[in-house]
Symmetry: C2
Subunit: 206 residues, 2 copies
Amino acid sequence: MKKISESAVRRLSLYLRFLQEADAAGVETISSGELARRGGATSAQVRKDLSLFGSFGKRGTGYSVRELVREIRTILGLDRTWRVALVGAGKLGSALFSYRDFEARGFQIRAVFDSDPGKVGASWGGLTVFPDEEMDRILREEKVDIAIVAVPADAAQGVVDRIVRAGVRSILNFAPVRLRVPEAVTLRNVDVTLELEGLSFGLNAR
Amino acid sequence: MKKISESAVRRLSLYLRFLQEADAAGVETISSGELARRGGATSAQVRKDLSLFGSFGKRGTGYSVRELVREIRTILGLDRTWRVALVGAGKLGSALFSYRDFEARGFQIRAVFDSDPGKVGASWGGLTVFPDEEMDRILREEKVDIAIVAVPADAAQGVVDRIVRAGVRSILNFAPVRLRVPEAVTLRNVDVTLELEGLSFGLNAR
């Protein structure tokens, strides 16, 4: 498989959402133009994105919605379950934990950690909140694939170092700080302050 | 001022965080190399980014930390207060509301809305949660600059249409759906599912 850019992967996720809606609405085939409109791309881009993985769709009749859903799910690794740990049982952690869309998409939270003794021992939907010190053992025992980091900025690097030591190779970070990870680890950042500052810049430049 | 890319604006935010830390630690000058390391860029990139706004810094001695903090804050529009509305008083809304970093960076939440009668009327840090129907009036009265949308996917487009009608021109959307806005409106998306799917793709491709 060719090297696929992060932005192409993003577009695949967007196509998938739209295709699943279309499928639920009983739509059977779809044109690259319709997909493009929803994925924020051009039809040529859609055809190029999908051609990365082989050729679906027939000229003139468009793509089979159901087939495309299946193919993109496979490509994105959504045809299986990923084992997720949540580090940080504060307000953001709680919001993420209760976000049902995760489970529906195959991201299953298997463990929750917090450094605050006041939170450790609490039960979250059948899971016990464990102290950070137990991370190494539990991440390995639970064979966690992905760790979500929802701790304050000044604690985040320490937490991430721990996660990496426990062998987890994919991290989604919500702390507003750039973290250092070894090259073998994939780190994505969700940085709300950065987005707000982008909006502020835009308002200011008007 | 030249047209500045979204990614350059992002780097400015990252430089700023680092510079503020450096300032707090008593550091007076800084090289483009150090800034580059923290902003995830090259020194040439840093010099290019900063040159967009005029020339700071002296050859050989680096940039004055304090001056650069001031300049970047001005560029990003962080030397003033922005009036923010939060639409959606659920778990995510609550996590965002309690996120103190916003206020510290000049983003002041002035109004909270929810469509759930069970949430309307509640007091959030001195603010009353208002029903969506009051949005038009209150967004105008409070002269809201930025609206944060933290509602379920299927409600998001309706909420955004309302926000746009009330004259708000900057929106930060957390609902996992692509929204349509007029060209004059700036929309940024924080899409957690998309990030997780990117990680899933990476794990799957290994």
